[in-house]
């Protein structure tokens, strides 16, 4: 079976910036992860995430992305959509964000064929360990979106029975 990667990106110390990491924590807490699926809290590791990206066929990323939509809005983007946007903001080749690391992997001929980025619009990116009230409910929605995308690939994640409140 093809190897699938699920990656949460973001800075856990900056409130909604940590959205991707919160999604990963919720996911592993509530679901059994099949053997061919690798889940990673990527934090702010940047270039160090390249090996993970290069070892999967499909990659799903949870992240926080600024837009003019209301805080907490969930969207799913292809890599092309995000890349074309970052072209306008990247002022130098040294801004190696996630998309740039992915492009570097592509240049090496090792990028995953299919990349989807599930994003939430932040309300607050000042110092803080918990999500803002506007963004907190988006975690479950983002996970639902991931589950649907995985289902399209024929991968079903089972919910753990023993999760409290489940």
């Amino acid at each position: 079976m093809d190897r699938i990667g699920i990656l949460g990106a973001g800075n856990l110390l900056l409130t909604d910036e940590g959205f991707g990491v919160h999604c990963i924590r919720r996911l592993v807490e509530q679901y059994r992860i099949p053997e061919n699926v690798a889940v990673l809290d990527g934090g702010t590791a940047g270039i160090m995430l390249a090996p993970f990206m290069e070892e999967v066929k499909s990659l799903y990323i949870f992240d926080c992305v600024n837009s003019e939509e209301p805080a907490g809005t969930i969207r799913c983007f292809s890599q092309e959509e995000l890349r074309s946007a970052s072209m306008h903001t990247s002022m130098s080749p040294h801004q190696l964000g996630l998309m740039e690391v992915l492009d570097l992997c592509r240049l090496r001929g090792k990028a995953p064929g299919d990349v989807k980025v599930i994003t939430a619009v932040p309300a607050n990116i000042s110092t803080g360990m918990e999500l803002s009230p506007q963004v907190a409910p988006a975690v479950d929605k983002a996970i639902d979106m991931l589950l649907r995308l995985l289902e399209e690939k024929g991968v079903i994640l089972e919910r753990k029975e023993s999760v409290s409140g489940a």
Binding site: A9, G10, N11, L14, E17, G43, T44, A45, G46, I47, M48, A50, P51, D63, V65, N66, S67, E68, F77, E80, E81, L82, R83, S84, A85, S86, M87, H88, T89, S90, M91, S92, P93, H94, Q95, L96, G97, L98, M99, E100, V101, L102, D103, L104, R106, L107, R108, G109, I125
Partner: protein, 569 residues
């Protein structure tokens, strides 16, 4: 809709550096270096158990992940007057060396090579000439016709697609880009390979330290990496041999690719050897200790004043008073309460933010001084202090590099050329070569010591009543790092970290003396203020462990361009 999205990497980097530069007549006339983020770790540590400090301090950074762990345990051990077992010393040394190799490779290829290498120009390269050029530099097996052809095709495909990815918005075609197409193609090929070798170094650290980034095997008194040659769950012979193999592969890359590349770039940009010297007082501390107390070292350190190698004064041990007595920090121009210059044992960390004031306070970074002087730290400082002492490995690689640069540049280039922007890159590549050799040496020392039946890794610390103070230094990838601790009744009373980027990126002091970044930018040419590539070159050559936002300001004071140079950590 996608057009409105901003993936904002600024929020996820460890710290922010703002450089303001005034340009007049095509040259920089004034510069300010400002840290835009406050590090509160020292405050968090007060009242805690000194044995836990390393776990907190290593979270200062997500890139220099091992260094604050090492400096912290050394500081506590110094305060307690402890020795650690030989195995623990060697294991720490392996981590120190491997982390350096990872870091230097990433810094050069991923974070600064594109200041000098024009990716798009690689498309014009003649493949046969590229092979010839590469073969003249080393016998790296991947310097082949097929490999270069393949890389050129990949670059072509990326350029055709209009999606330049990591190369987007580079300064292609900038008048300051001078490498011939063949050198550019060779460098791009190596850039793509570098990722594999930084990873091998990382992998080796993870095998020794349980996890990377942020190692888990340090402790005050030694390491927690249990050694048992026959046990699968400890550091055993199989794992040690895996570490050796990875280290040897990385060493090969450094000797045959990284060092030759930097030599070639230094030679082909020899006009740059006159720019970027700035502060030529150098400070480096000895590292890779060979004994349990830290009185003998494989890496040399010391001070050099005013660029005069004859002024070398070495540091001799982990408790050398020449280091301990002479480090002070000044907050005259930094956002802290007061206007003092104090020794780290006596410092306070009380924030007092104003705003950016050209003639007042303008940075979160304090200004460290050694005997009252600003000091440049980093690989170049270490290599020069070693060279000045006749250190064998420093001499071997410096002489080799200068000889090669001279032969490619067809002009005699001597050690004085190292006081420059490319000199800092050369210093870093030379230091990588030295540490690759030393990593393998210390691997052997460790294995030989285990072979003698010594499995000790830990001496338990004892905290007496009353007050103790101590300092721990470590020559980190970006330069001299020191941690300073005051312990009272077994708890932390005061803690200060004086980090490499503080030495280099710090602001002016109470006497108005500029820090190394600031001084190094003066007189730098700027061909196109809208695209201030030259500023990036000089600031990047220090390997800033901070995100770098460069603002260009004309003498009239209007901002003409805002450039962001982002580095991971």
């Amino acid at each position: 809709m996608a057009q409105r999205i901003v993936v904002d990497p600024i929020t996820r980097i460890e710290g922010h550096l703002r450089i303001d530069a005034e340009v007049d007549g095509g040259k920089i006339t004034k510069a300010w270096s400002s840290g835009q983020m406050w590090r509160g770790i020292e405050v968090i540590l007060k009242g805690r158990d000194p044995r836990d400090a390393w776990l907190f301090t290593q979270r200062i950074c997500g890139v220099c992940t091992t260094v604050h762990a090492i400096a912290s345990v050394r500081a506590v051990e110094n305060a307690l007057g402890m020795e650690i077992p030989l195995n623990a010393q060697y294991i720490r040394n392996l981590v120190v060396a491997l982390h350096t190799l990872h870091d230097h490779i990433v810094h050069f290829y991923v974070l600064s090579a594109l200041d000098w290498v024009d990716v798009v120009s690689a498309l014009k390269a003649d493949i046969k000439k590229t092979v010839k050029l590469a073969e003249s530099l080393s016998d790296w097996p991947n310097n082949s016709y097929d490999r270069f052809k393949q890389v050129q095709q990949k670059v072509q495909a990326i350029v055709d697609s209009g999606q330049l990815g990591p190369f987007a918005n580079g300064y292609w075609g900038h008048p300051a880009m001078k490498l011939p197409p063949e050198a550019n193609l060779m460098a791009v090929s190596h850039y793509l390979e570098a990722l594999d070798f930084q990873r091998k170094a990382d992998q080796a650290i993870a095998i020794i330290s349980g996890k990377n980034p942020h190692i888990q095997n340090m402790c005050v008194g030694g390491v927690t990496a249990a050694i048992n040659p026959d046990n699968e769950t400890t550091l055993n012979i199989e794992r040690l041999y895996f570490v050796k193999q990875l280290t040897a592969e990385v060493r090969d890359f450094i000797q045959k690719v990284y060092l030759p590349d930097v030599i070639a770039i230094g030679a082909l940009y020899s006009d740059w050897l006159q720019y970027g010297s700035g502060v030529t007082n150098y400070l480096a501390v000895p590292d890779m200790p060979l004994d349990t107390r830290g009185t003998e070292f494989d890496l040399p350190g010391g001070t050099i004043m005013a660029g005069d190698l004859g002024s070398i004064k070495p540091f001799k041990s982990f408790d050398d008073p020449y280091f301990e007595k002479n480090v002070k920090e000044c907050i005259a121009r930094a956002w802290y309460d007061g206007n003092w210059t104090k020794h780290p044992y006596e410092e306070e960390t009380v924030p007092a933010y104003t705003d950016f004031q050209d003639d007042g306070k303008y940075s979160w970074i304090k200004a460290p001084r050694f005997m009252g002087e600003p000091m440049q730290v980093g690989p170049l400082a270490q290599v020069l202090t070693g060279y000045a002492q006749g250190h064998k490995l420093c001499k071997k690689y410096v002489d080799y590099a200068l000889e090669q640069v001279s032969s490619i540049a067809r002009t005699r280039v001597d050690a004085s050329a190292l006081h420059s922007t490319p000199g800092r890159h050369l210093g870093r590549a030379i230091r990588a070569a030295i540490l690759a050799d030393l990593a393998l040496k210390h691997w052997q020392l460790l294995v030989d010591n285990i072979g003698k039946g010594d499995l000790e890794i830990f001496n338990p610390p004892v905290f007496p009543k009353g007050q103790q103070q101590g300092f721990g230094f470590h020559e980190a990838p970006r330069g001299t790092l020191s941690h300073w601790i005051v312990i009272e009744d077994g708890k932390i009373k005061n803690y200060q970290c004086v980090v490499p980027s503080t030495w280099n990126a710090g602001p002016r002091d109470d006497g108005g003396k500029e820090g190394p970044y600031e001084a190094s930018l003066l007189e730098n040419p700027v061909a196109d203020p809208e695209r201030p590539l030259e500023v990036l070159r000089t600031v990047h050559s220090f390997d800033p462990c901070i995100a770098c936002a460069v603002h260009m300001v004309t003498p009239a004071g209007t901002e003409i361009s805002s450039v962001q140079a982002m580095k991971l950590g």
